[in-house]
């Protein structure tokens, strides 16, 4: 069963909308899929993206905001029974599929045009287009291609370390390897690894049980993510980390 929105005002139902498109817009202007002709509603107020059985609400920088169950939201993954308030109107989200937990849906599926077992309600090409849409939106927001976690750290930028103390002060080391080790054996050694989420520093060995520090704090045995301009100290040498 397709999910739907029931539009009410002062408790009176004034419309019912099936979420049968990958993207549906809500607003005051007539070109919206769901038009609410009221001055409290922005021309283009919000939109709903539907991917398979789930729908996602996003406020389009409306003047008066979008509320879900009383809370102001920018982005929200809709759940059956959610009450969306736009101006003085309410939209109740009804989706029996998303909460049924049918065994079939537990199966892992691949989002591909020719994938076996895609639900009949949503053609997989639709999903492809939806993903493209979501990706475009994210690109606009974060200014880099989405959906492709960079294989080599963050984007194409190469991180580097600059030595701040000691005889090699000013020297730079580009972190071009997936795993770079720094320090002095027997005293203190640390490793910096490149992961899809960014760069991490890991303690390898410390002769006297000491650990490297980030911004003056000892890191312990766990991997710690590195942020731009972090100051690390390994084997008594201070270094600044640069992301790009």
């Amino acid at each position: 069963m397709t999910a739907k929105l029931i539009l009410t005002h002062d408790g009176n139902t004034i419309g019912e909308f099936e979420l049968n498109k990958e993207q549906m817009t809500i607003g005051r202007k007539p070109d919206n899929d769901i038009q609410i002709d009221n001055l409290a509603v922005s021309g283009q107020h919000a939109k709903i993206i539907t991917i398979l059985n789930d729908s996602f609400l996003e406020d389009m920088n409306s003047t008066n905001g979008t509320y879900v169950n009383g809370s102001l939201v920018k982005k929200h993954a809709l759940q059956d029974g959610d009450s969306v308030t736009i101006g003085k109107h309410q939209l109740r989200y009804i989706n029996k599929e998303a909460s049924s937990g049918s065994d079939d849906f537990e199966k892992t599926m691949i989002i591909r045009p020719d994938a076996v077992g895609m639900p009949a309600t949503a053609g997989s090409q639709t999903v492809e287009r939806q993903m493209a849409e979501v990706n475009k939106k994210v690109e606009a927001q974060i200014g880099k291609p989405a959906g492709q976690p960079a294989p080599s750290g963050r984007g194409n930028e190469t991180a580097r370390l600059q030595v701040l103390s000691g005889a090699n002060s000013g020297k730079e080391l580009a972190l071009t390897k997936a795993l770079t080790t720094i320090g002095r054996p027997g005293q203190q050694v640390a490793a910096i690894t490149r992961r899809p989420q960014g760069y991490f520093i890991i303690h390898v060995e410390g002769g006297d049980g000491s650990f490297p520090t980030i911004n003056g704090k000892q890191i312990g045995t766990q991997a710690h993510s590195l942020n731009d301009h972090d100051i690390i100290e390994v084997a008594g040498v201070k270094m600044e980390f640069f992301l790009g």
């Binding site: 991917i51 849906f105 537990e106 691949i110 994938a115 294989p151 080599s152 030595v163 054996p185 045995t221």
Partner: protein, 274 residues
């Protein structure tokens, strides 16, 4: 380099309580320091074929070629990866090709695919390759850390701010993978390298485990059975089944018993930088 005695490896796979057959496949080779786990998907029996093709290709080809790994020729772009990482990526791409060609050649296997997570241990390091939503975790001292990042629609939605990881657990979209082996002629493989310390325990698992058992429960189970990996693996599978057993569930546990440096220690090669 033979890692027998340096690594302890156990693997378990179970059909679960709801499925009629097991589409997961695991492979381990302690001599080569290799573990691999695949979660197949597709029509009748095709999922099993895809995951078995992936694991067999990896285990055979990596063991065969490991002795001959060498750094790439000077001037060639190596992206900073070790020869072992590059070998792992090459063989994963090869298994992608084998599965893809099989699915084209045989109508009953059309559209089959599989996730994959594999780890190759050498020289106090590990190279990790993964595609899809099978995961690798590491227990170091008391803390469990997820090392791989799922290739799923859900993970993308989390990164885009529609969900918190807690909300994601209850969502219906969690099993849509955005990458898998055997679906396309090309596949993008995520490669990572990490340091291995004595007593680290690595967990590779299919989503049948992490969908059914919370990370904290996984952490406690491994920690409490750190001296008996067989017991730890069986308990994890038992917990997944007690929580519903909705999917096939597979786990591989690898414990670093002793340091295993290459003849010339890897940090000797790099630490003279200061």
């Amino acid at each position: 380099m033979d890692l027998t005695g340096k690594l302890e490896i156990v693997g378990e796979t179970h059909t679960g309580l709801k499925r009629t057959h097991n589409e997961d496949c695991i492979g381990t080779d302690v001599t080569a320091g290799l573990v691999a786990l695949a979660d197949g998907m597709g029509g009748y029996k095709a999922g099993e074929v895809a995951s078995a093709l992936a694991i067999n290709t990896l285990v055979v080809d990596i063991a065969d070629r490991l002795a001959a790994v060498a750094p790439p020729p000077q001037g060639e772009e190596d992206e900073g990866y070790s020869p072992e990482s590059l070998l792992a990526r090459e063989i994963v791409e090869k298994s992608n090709d084998i599965i893809y060609q099989t699915s084209l050649a045989q109508p009953q296997y059309k559209g089959m695919g599989t996730t994959l997570v594999m780890a190759l241990f050498y020289d106090n390091r590990v190279s990790i390759a993964h595609v899809g939503d099978s995961r690798m975790y590491r227990l170091r001292q008391d803390a469990l850390e997820q090392i791989t990042v799922d290739h799923t629609l859900m993970q993308e939605l989390i990164e885009r701010g529609f969900y918190t990881p807690e909300e994601a657990r209850n969502s219906m979209n969690k099993n849509l993978v955005t990458r898998a082996l055997g679906i396309d002629p090309e596949v993008q493989v995520d490669i990572q390298e990490d340091v291995v310390l004595k007593n680290d325990i690595f967990l590779l698992c299919s989503d049948g485990l992490n969908d059914m058992v919370e990370d904290e429960q996984i952490r406690l189970t491994i920690k409490e059975n750190a001296d008996n990996l067989e017991e730890a693996a069986q308990k994890l599978i038992q917990q997944a089944n007690e929580n519903g057993g909705n999917d096939n569930v597979s786990v591989i546990l690898v414990k670093s018993l002793e340091s295993f440096p290459a003849k010339k220690s890897w940090f000797q090669k790099f630490v003279d930088w200061f």
